[in-house]
């Protein structure tokens, strides 16, 4: 057991944990299930390819597989580290590609309980991190992350987040989100991970529960291929319409 004074900086732990989950390139299928309070559920399957570039730039190519009415819809997301994300979407039924500008990271990912920020790797500098009382006990860091200012709080849509991180693996196991009345409103639990090379990992299965609406969303990654050779030309607008 570690004494508080000897604990490593909370920001450093968060940074390390984040770095462990970032990979250079990856392709996978994602199945998203949203379950309503009454038990009704909705499924969506997408195929995603990601590739990391210099200066923290990450590009994602997403193609919808299910449901049938949106099959063929394709998206290209350019995740800039220091500026707003860029997004293009191709709508096959309308045969149109449109660029979308959206700056709000707190917004829901595909109508689920996950936010866009939950799906990406939010900048460590957007938050102030600190250890909570029991951090360091039971092989677990418990770190509270508070948005650096009101604008960031608005952008992310919560007042603070508590991350439970395994001290040995540095992997996040659970995140709790508090609303602006300081009430717990959302929990994300990491159910399983997929080990990558170099000791890195990616989340394979996670569940987000909204305590206000009693809705649950589950994301399951399958067909994960790490380090796939993807040509840069795949991440172009022209490729969307193919």
């Amino acid at each position: 057991m570690q004494v508080a004074g000897q604990q490593p900086d909370a920001g450093q732990i968060m940074n390390k944990s984040r770095d462990l989950s970032i990979t250079s390139s990856l392709s996978a299928n994602i199945n998203l299930t949203i379950t309503e309070k009454g038990g009704a559920s909705r499924n969506r399957t997408i195929a995603m390819t990601t590739k990391s570039f210099a200066d923290g730039l990450e590009k994602r190519f997403i193609k919808f597989i299910e449901p049938a009415d949106v099959r063929g819809t394709a998206m290209l997301v350019v995740d800039n580290k220091n500026s707003a994300d860029e997004m293009w979407i191709y709508l096959p039924a309308l045969k149109k590609t449109r660029r979308i500008v959206s700056s709000e990271k707190g917004k829901s990912f595909m109508s689920s309980e996950f936010s866009n920020a939950d799906m990406a790797s939010p900048a460590i500098s957007d938050f102030v991190h600190k250890h909570l009382g029991k951090s360091g006990m039971n092989n677990q860091w418990i770190i509270e992350s508070t948005p650096v200012n009101e604008d960031k709080a608005d952008e992310y849509g919560f007042s603070r987040k508590i991350s439970y991180i395994n001290m040995t693996s540095n992997q996040v196991q659970k995140m709790e989100f508090y609303n602006f009345d300081n009430e717990l409103f959302k929990i994300i639990e990491i159910k399983s991970i997929f080990p990558l090379s170099d000791g890195k990992y990616m989340v394979k299965n996670m569940v987000a529960s909204n305590l206000n609406t009693n809705r649950k969303s589950e994301i399951l990654f399958s067909n994960i291929s790490e380090g796939v050779k993807v040509d840069d030309s795949n991440f172009t607008i022209q490729n969307l319409e193919r």
Binding site: I89, A93, R98, S108, S111, D154, N179, F180, E183
Partner: protein, 780 residues
């Protein structure tokens, strides 16, 4: 009965006191229900449909915060609105909101669809602010929705949820506003604020009206009965029965509504009557029989008054019970509470007052008989009886003409269920409502839920037709629907020269992909009130700038026409629809309660006068008063609403007494061998004054309602003057003239088979009312 009272006097007194004390302890548990939708039964169609829609799309009750300034698009104002909007968005009890900072600009620029906030950053320079003003006016989701087209007012509209209490949410909003001061004037409106004001004002009304009514009654009793000890007896009945009726509210699990405050006032105005009769009669008997013992006097009192008091009480209860046929829930409750109170007043008067007289006795005699005041009455009544005896036919003709004139006003009678109108024009809630209705499309809503495959282009086109058509209906402010979002997106996807621009796509896939596009760009929260997660239900929200009943009815009819060909299950609900059903309930309740009360009173009169014809004649003043009341309401513009709809039943219950008293007295005069003119003159002299004072007492009691904070309850107070006044004229002008003119055969009925001559006079209702007020001629 007298022996029973003598024997158990202390038990009677104790039981009555315990009832009063117990009631006083229970009253503080009373809760107030400001939710007008609870006034109509849950099974009514609009409530069922609204509940169905709200279970899918949440409660549609909106809080509207308005910011007004000479120009609202200034840095200071916008920063303040932004801060308040941000804090409101963080309140747990708010499920969604529309403000200048939530509105999006969906634009197509150089092949890009941008979904950006309308206000990305607050400009500081004048040209930039001017540009923003222009942007606002061009944005169909902003203009007259979040900023008025004259740029003087901005609004934050927040939909509340049930996660926390409404009270807590409103407190938080108030605290957010007070911690963000600024130049722009802020007013708050919407149903949650209306409800909050109702709760506050209903409580305030009860605190003001009950003491005022009691004070008025105390003054009236003192003027009528003389000594304070005499006043105390009927007054104690008033206090005990009022407390009892109020205690019944929490005991039955009911809640105090805006109109329940009428219950104590009804009791204060009516419950003293029987006590007054008894005390005054006792004074009378003591005066006439100074040699009699207290027991003998009480025996005489009970013997002479039981029947007439019972008649009087029963007709009042029958009239009030007419309210049971109302479908408005608080109306039924008032019927039960007031009838229970009056019944208890009747019982207590017959038991407690003799018991109290028996134990306290002295001090009840009248020391100062106010003859001078009586003279004025006598002169008026003498002249009136002369007029009636001389010209009964003309009086009847003039009366008929006056009644017809008033009755024609019924054509103008309107129904008003808009609870905004309960508040005086200067009340902040009313002012906010007027601002919302005039500049922001109103806060009262109609909801249409469409169940089907929302992505089906045919269905979406149906929704679009409905949206477009309903928008043009009179009284409709703003309409929100998913079809508008689809059309707005089509404007961002296509250029204005392309097919498909500002149109609903022709394929299901195209609509599905548009939804997906929006999910990726905006937030699904932006239209979570317009369609559900799996797009099997759509919600069209219609905000009414004029929630008047006829407008709601015409919008409802148009919705039916426009949805008949939509291939889906349609539900139409919303607060405005509930209020429309509420208006229907008021009409139906008014008719049924009137029928019930008139028939019951007719039956009672038939029994009392032992003749059906007598019953019919006795009902003339009531019928005339009903016509005059509704006609007056029509001409004066006072609407039939939750409060004024109760008036006719109460009027029948109270006003019928006057006719019974007059006919009973007139009959006695005929029985004692007087001619019709002599009987008219004598009845007018003996009973007329008592009837007038009785009517004035009731009017004075109800007069307290003029101090109410609610317009509708104040109108009720004014209308009582009209209705009781017309009952009074009916009993003292129309009935005497009718009896003079037609000399109906039922007259001459026996009032007490066992008694004759002088004794009979003491056992009848003349004695009651004549003696009821000091200075009665019969005691001279």
């Amino acid at each position: 009965m007298a022996d029973f009272i003598f024997r158990y006097r202390w038990i009677i007194i104790l039981l009555c006191l315990l009832t009063g004390a117990g009631s006083v302890l229970i009253i503080p548990r009373t809760k107030i229900d400001p939710e007008m939708r609870n006034y109509i039964p849950q099974s009514i169609e609009s409530r069922v449909e609204t509940d169905k829609i709200e279970s899918e799309f949440g409660v549609q009750d909106m809080v509207v915060i308005l910011f007004s300034d000479s120009c609202i698009v200034s840095s200071d104002n916008l920063n303040r609105i932004k801060n308040i909007d941000r804090s409101i968005s963080r309140i747990n009890g708010i499920s969604s909101r529309i403000s200048p900072f939530t509105v999006k600009n969906i634009k197509s620029e150089e092949g890009m669809m941008t979904v950006d906030p309308l206000i990305k950053g607050i400009p500081s320079s004048a040209p930039d602010l001017e540009l923003l003003g222009k942007d606002i006016l061009e944005n169909s989701f902003a203009r007259d929705i979040v900023v008025s087209s004259d740029l003087t007012t901005a609004s934050i509209t927040a939909t509340i949820n049930n996660l926390v209490t409404e009270k807590e949410t409103l407190q938080k909003i108030d605290s957010v506003i007070s911690s963000n001061p600024g130049n722009a004037k802020i007013v708050k409106g919407g149903l949650p604020y209306i409800r909050q004001s109702l709760v506050k004002d209903v409580g305030k009304d009860a605190i003001i009206l009950i003491p005022v009514a009691l004070l008025i009654m105390l003054i009236v009793l003192k003027a009528s009965l003389g000594s304070w000890r005499s006043v105390l007896l009927p007054f104690s009945i008033v206090v005990l029965t009022t407390a009892f009726s109020l205690a019944l509210i929490p005991l039955t699990g009911w809640k105090m509504s805006i109109i329940t405050v009428l219950v104590p006032v009804i009791l204060i105005a009516v419950a003293n009557n029987y006590g007054i009769y008894l005390v005054a009669r006792f004074q009378e008997l003591s005066f006439r029989h100074p040699e009699a013992t207290r027991k003998e006097l009480i025996r005489m009192l009970i013997k002479s008054l039981n029947m007439p008091i019972l008649f009087s009480g029963l007709t009042t209860v029958a009239g009030i019970l007419g309210l049971l046929t109302h479908s408005i829930i608080p109306a039924k409750q008032i019927g039960i509470l007031a009838a229970a109170g009056v019944s208890l007043a009747l019982l207590m008067s017959l038991l407690l007052i003799p018991a109290l007289i028996f134990v306290s006795g002295s001090g009840l005699t009248l020391k100062n008989r106010k003859r001078d005041r009586a003279k004025l009455f006598d002169n008026i009544l003498n002249n009136l009886s002369k007029l009636i005896i001389k010209n009964p036919g003309r009086i009847l003709l003039v009366s008929a003409l006056v009644i017809i004139l008033f009755a024609s006003g019924i054509a103008f009678l309107r129904i008003d269920t808009n609870q905004e109108n309960y508040f005086a024009p200067k009340h902040p809630v009313r002012q906010a409502s007027e601002l919302i209705n005039s500049k922001f499309g109103g806060s009262q809503t109609i909801s249409v839920m469409i169940k089907g495959d929302i992505k089906d282009p045919e269905l979406m086109k149906g929704i679009d037709r409905l949206t477009t058509e309903i928008k043009n209906q009179k009284g409709v402010g703003i309409v929100f629907s998913i079809s508008q979002v689809v059309r707005e997106m089509s404007k961002a996807i296509y250029t204005s020269t392309e097919d498909g621009y500002d149109q609903i796509p022709d394929t299901r896939e195209a609509i599905a992909q548009m939804f997906e596009l929006y999910n990726m760009s905006g937030s699904p929260d932006d239209f979570k009130q317009l369609t559900d997660l799996d797009n099997t239900k759509a919600h069209i929200l219609i905000r009414l700038s004029d929630p008047e009943n006829n407008i709601v009815k015409s919008v409802k009819a148009r919705i039916s026409e426009l949805t008949v060909n939509i291939p889906a299950e349609i539900s139409v609900g919303g607060y405005a629809m509930i209020m429309s059903d509420f208006a229907e309930s008021i009409i139906k309740g008014q008719i049924s309660s009137l029928l019930f009360a008139v028939i019951t009173v007719l039956l009672l009169l038939t029994i009392i006068f032992r003749s059906f014809k007598g019953g019919l004649i006795g009902s003339i003043p009531l019928t005339a008063s009903i016509l005059i009341l509704f006609g007056f309401m029509g001409y004066s513009g006072i609407a039939l609403d939750a409060a004024t709809a109760l008036l006719s039943s109460i009027m029948i219950g109270v006003g019928v007494d006057f006719t019974i008293q007059y006919i009973w007295c007139f009959n006695l005069q005929i029985n004692s061998g007087l001619s019709y003119p002599e009987a008219t003159s004598s009845a007018m002299r003996t009973i007329g004054r008592s009837i007038i004072i009785n009517a004035l007492t009731v009017m004075a009691g109800f007069g307290a309602l003029m101090f109410s904070g609610f317009t509708s309850i104040r109108f009720f107070g004014y209308l009582v003057l009209i209705s009781i006044g017309s009952c009074l004229i009916g009993a003292l002008v129309i009935i005497p003239a009718f009896l003079m003119k037609y000399k109906p055969g039922f007259l001459g009925f026996e009032t007490d088979k066992k008694k004759t001559g002088k004794d009979e006079k003491e056992s009848n209702i003349i004695g009651v009312t004549t003696a009821a007020f000091a200075g009665s001629r019969s005691t001279a």
